[in-house]
Each structure stands twice: as structure tokens, then as C-alpha cells.
């Protein structure tokens, strides 16, 4: 579904991604893990067209998306839940979700929107409860759910999430990951970028490890979880302790 070949991205003189190649098959959940500054966010931004790469190819369902604008990429079925939530703070929860459905309106699928709205409320009941509140008044976890719901309203074939767990309490994090799993099981392809390697790999089929702009490891999720280097670098004792005792 998504194929990236030899991607080079730079901000001015600073190269952020070097010859990155990866692929995501339809129906899979792929996790990209790595430390801060590894280039994970840049990768996702490049895929959606917010950043233009210096070299390389990105193909979404066979079609090149390097030269397409963000709006077109979203219309092609690739939705990004951005880092830091980025909700429309001055608009209501419901309006936020409706904004997400814009591509559906463009495709002429207006009638599906109402049903999708119910579906999102089903996934995140708290959003239905707060549907007329301003998005800016929601808690971090609720905003994360809103951002996810908003992306889902576009009925994406590829859903990308940028650090969904950042800044969230462990319990909320668990809910978010569970929802990602659920969405994946309903047929959506998911590309997940996370610092929290353990949680990400646990729900993923395959994974890549990104370090200072390069893919250094790849494999199935189990392989990566078991890998000693990964364990040492990203699954260190501190993170373990946080997660210990939680099923």
C-alpha cells in the first residue's frame, strides 16, 4: 500500500532522513520506533506532503505522492493524526469531526458522514458526551481521541499516527493503543510512529527502528521486541517499570 524508497529529507543544510526505505502492506500495522530527533515526525510529514523531500520516492497504492499537495494526499486516502493533537481549539468537538469529513464531502459521500460520526462516537463515547464543547477545553487524552476520530472521518485507507501516546497518562495511553488495534482489525492499514516502543510493537505486525535519520533495524514485531539491541536502547528498564503490572 505504501512504499518508500531511498527517501532523503533535509531542512536547509541539516539532513534529517537518509536513504529511508520501508513499505506497509495493506491491512498491516507497522510501527516505527526511535528516540527523539530520529526523524520520525519528519517521515510522516513528508508522506502527507507537508514537507518536500530532497530525493526519493513515495508511492501510495502505486501512485506517487511526493509531488502531490497535502490536500490531494488526504483525498487519496492517507490521513495523519499529527503530533501534539492539533485540534481546532475554538471549534466544537462535532465541528472538528465534521472538518475531518471534508474529503468525504468532496467524494460525494455525504450520506456516509452521519454514519461515520456515529461510528466515531461509538469508538470514543466521551466525544459524544462532549460534542458541543470547544475542543480546546478537552483533556489531552480526549483531544487525542478527537484527533484520531477526525482522521477516521475521512475513511482513510492508510491511517498514520504521530506519537499518539505523548504526554498522556498510562491508562489513557492503553486505551488509545487498544483503539488503534481495533481500527486496524476493522481493515484499516496503520502506520504508527512512537517513542514508546513496547506499546507500539505490541500492537504491530512489523516494525522499523529509526536512528538519526536511518533505518537501522527492521523485522516482525516479535523479532524486534526480542532483539537485544532494541531492548537495550528502547525497552530499557525504566520504560519496563512503567509498564510492569499492566496487562
Amino acid at each position: 500500500m505504501l512504499r518508500i524508497r531511498n527517501l532523503d529529507v533535509a531542512y536547509g543544510p541539516v539532513t534529517v532522513l537518509r536513504r529511508v526505505s520501508l513499505h506497509v502492506n495493506k491491512g498491516e500495522v507497522v510501527a516505527i520506533v526511535g528516540a527523539n530527533g530520529a526523524g520520525k515526525t519528519t517521515l510522516l510529514k513528508t508522506i502527507t506532503g507537508l514537507v518536500r523531500p530532497r530525493a526519493g520516492e513515495i508511492a501510495l497504492e502505486g501512485q506517487d505522492v511526493v509531488r502531490t499537495s497535502t490536500e490531494q494526499t488526504v483525498a487519496m486516502g492517507c490521513s495523519l493524526v499529527p503530533e501534539g493533537r492539533q485540534v481546532f481549539a475554538s471549534m466544537s468537538v462535532r465541528d472538528n469531526l465534521l472538518m475531518g469529513a471534508h474529503v468525504q464531502y468532496r467524494r460525494g459521500k455525504k450520506d456516509e458522514v452521519a454514519a461515520d460520526l456515529q461510528r466515531v462516537y461509538g469508538l470514543f463515547p466521551v466525544l459524544e458526551k462532549r460534542r458541543d464543547q470547544f475542543a480546546g477545553t478537552l483533556s489531552g487524552g480526549e483531544q487525542q481521541m478527537l484527533a484520531m476520530g477526525r482522521a477516521l472521518m475521512a475513511r482513510p485507507s492508510l491511517l498514520m499516527l504521530d506519537e499518539p501516546s505523548m504526554g498522556l497518562a498510562p491508562l489513557v495511553m492503553r486505551d488509545i493503543f487498544a483503539t488503534v488495534s481495533r481500527v486496524a482489525s476493522e481493515g484499516c492499514t496503520v502506520l504508527l510512529v512512537e517513542q514508546n516502543a513496547r506499546s507500539a510493537l505490541k500492537i504491530a505486525d512489523r516494525g522499523y527502528v529509526l536512528e538519526t535519520g536511518r533505518i537501522v533495524l527492521q523485522g516482525t514485531a516479535e523479532e524486534l521486541l526480542a532483539n537485544q539491541d532494541v531492548q537495550r536502547a528502547y525497552l530499557g528498564r525504566d520504560v519496563n517499570e512503567e509498564q510492569e503490572g499492566r496487562p
Binding site: 497535502t70 490521513s79 499529527p82 492539533q86 485540534v87 465541528d95 472538518m99 475521512a154
Partner: protein, 293 residues
């Protein structure tokens, strides 16, 4: 002060005030969408009036006004597309200088086209001595036209942003442009639309007030300053507050004539601007941070 005089000052203040309110609202629309303070805002008012006067030579008045508004909207779109659109994250300083340059160019073009002549549209109903009795005093029907048109604009624009899908899209784009493009919203066109809307509002205001204040190539600058004062006074980005602030400024300015020589009338609004900037830059009703660059 005699009741009659008080009333006249009040009416004059409200009349000018609604114009300032419309200009201030235009500022806010563009500011909300792009973070830019559009120094050329006043020029839209001037263009609306001057174009309508020229068109009126061979078109009936209502049509002349409609076409003038449309022409100004096109100018607004052209400005955005030519000068603003392809700048990537310009600094505040740069944008200010660019919009100042744009306003100068528009003004000079107007000078070239229309010279220094002072022109005016004819009174919509009656003429300069017609008056209607309102509450025991007499006011020109044009005042009612102005108040009505500006009030109508405010209501329509507010409704547009609150109730229509396009309006909501523009609000989304203004709230968070990146998130908006991630929703597939055509952000670049929405921004152009904000310029078009501001231009149209300014133009209509310019047409409606032209019989009373007359129009000339150079009125844009002063209006821009006053419009900015209004936007800040209400709180930058706060559209409804701009309306209240506009009326307030108009009234203050009008009554100042009773205290200061008329030559200083314009200076009054600047004094208000400075007072607000010094004392309470976030405006009377609150706005975004004044110190954030």
C-alpha cells in the same frame, strides 16, 4: 451640551463608527486566517467608493455598487495570490513592510487613475438636504443606509462564519492551518477567500458612506490606522468586539470635535490607539498575545 447637538454628534459618531467597525472586522478576518495585519485594508474602502463612482457614469446606482464590490474582491484575491500566497513563513516585519508597499501601490494607482479629485456617489435616497425625523431630530437618510448596510454586513458575516460549511472551514484554517490541510481542506484557497471577503466588506462600506464623507484616492491610509485601532481596541482577532470598538471609536472621535479643533480629529483616534497599546494591548475584550512575535 444641547440635546440636539448631542444627538448630531452621536449620529455622526455612529455613522463613522460603523465604517470603522467594518474595516476592523476585515482586519480581523485576515489576521485570523493568516496572522497578517493588512495595511492595505483601508484601500479596499477607497477602491469600492471610487470604482462605484466611475461605474455610475454608465450604470444604474445599485448595479454600479455591486460591480464595484466585485471588482474590489477581485483585487483582494489578486493581492493575496500575487504577494502573499507563495511566501513561506515570512517574518512579521517582512509582512508588515509588504502590506505597506501594497497599500502604497494601490494608492498611487488610484492617483493615476482618478487624480486628486474628490468624488462621491449620489445619495441613495434624496439628496444632501433631505432629512428624516427620528426621535425629534433630523438625520439624513444616508445615515440610515450606512447603519443598515454595515449592520447587515456584520450580521451576514457572523452568520457565515458560524453557520455555513465554508465559514467553518475558514475558521478551522484560521485556528490551525496545518491541521486544516491534514483534513484535506484547501487552505490556500480559503486564505484567498479571506482576502476576498475582507475586500468586499470594505468596498461595500466605502460605497455606502461615500455620499456623506466623499471619496478620494488618499483616504485609505487614515482608514487603515483607524481600522487597526478598532481591531486592537476590541482585541485582535475578536470580530464581534471590533464592532463595539468601532462604534466606540466613532463616538469618541465625533465628540472630540467639541473639545479640540477639527484639524486634530484624526489625531484623536491615534491617541486612542496609543493609549490602548500602552495600557492594555490585548484590547478591551481580550485577544491573542501582544508580545508574542
Amino acid at each position: 451640551m444641547a440635546g440636539e447637538l448631542f444627538f448630531q454628534y452621536l449620529i455622526a459618531g455612529l455613522t463613522y463608527g460603523t465604517i470603522y467597525a467594518v474595516v476592523g472586522m476585515g482586519f480581523n478576518i485576515i489576521y485570523n486566517a493568516t496572522g497578517i495585519i493588512n495595511f492595505a485594508q483601508g484601500e479596499f474602502v477607497m477602491l469600492g467608493g471610487m470604482t462605484a463612482v466611475s461605474l455610475h457614469a454608465f450604470l444604474p446606482l445599485p448595479l454600479a455598487i455591486v460591480v464595484a464590490v466585485l471588482v474590489t474582491m477581485v483585487v483582494g484575491a489578486l493581492i493575496e495570490v500575487t504577494f502573499i500566497r507563495w511566501l513561506s513563513r515570512p517574518s512579521v516585519l517582512r509582512m508588515i513592510i509588504i502590506t505597506i508597499g501594497i497599500s502604497i501601490l494601490i494608492r498611487e494607482a488610484a492617483l493615476l487613475l482618478w487624480g486628486q479629485d474628490v468624488r462621491a456617489l449620489p445619495y441613495f435616497t434624496g439628496n444632501e438636504i433631505t432629512s428624516i425625523a427620528v426621535g425629534g431630530a433630523r438625520i439624513s437618510p444616508q445615515v440610515l443606509w450606512t447603519l443598515g448596510a454595515c449592520a447587515g454586513l456584520v450580521v451576514l458575516v457572523t452568520a457565515f462564519f458560524r453557520f455555513t460549511m465554508l465559514g467553518r472551514q475558514m475558521r478551522a484554517c484560521a485556528a490551525n492551518r496545518v491541521a486544516a490541510s491534514l483534513c484535506g481542506l484547501p487552505t490556500r484557497n480559503l486564505i484567498t477567500l479571506s482576502f476576498v471577503l475582507s475586500a468586499g466588506m470594505g468596498a461595500l462600506a466605502g460605497c455606502v458612506v461615500s455620499p456623506i464623507t466623499q471619496t478620494q484616492y488618499g483616504i485609505g491610509t487614515g482608514l487603515a490606522i483607524k481600522g487597526f485601532t478598532v481591531a486592537i481596541l476590541g482585541g485582535l482577532g475578536n470580530s464581534l468586539a471590533a464592532v463595539a470598538a468601532g462604534l466606540l471609536l466613532g463616538i469618541i472621535e465625533s465628540f472630540s470635535v467639541s473639545l479640540l479643533p477639527t484639524a486634530f480629529k484624526d489625531a484623536v483616534s491615534i491617541a486612542v490607539l496609543l493609549a490602548i497599546l500602552f495600557a492594555r494591548p490585548s484590547g478591551l475584550f481580550g485577544a491573542r498575545a501582544a508580545t508574542r512575535p
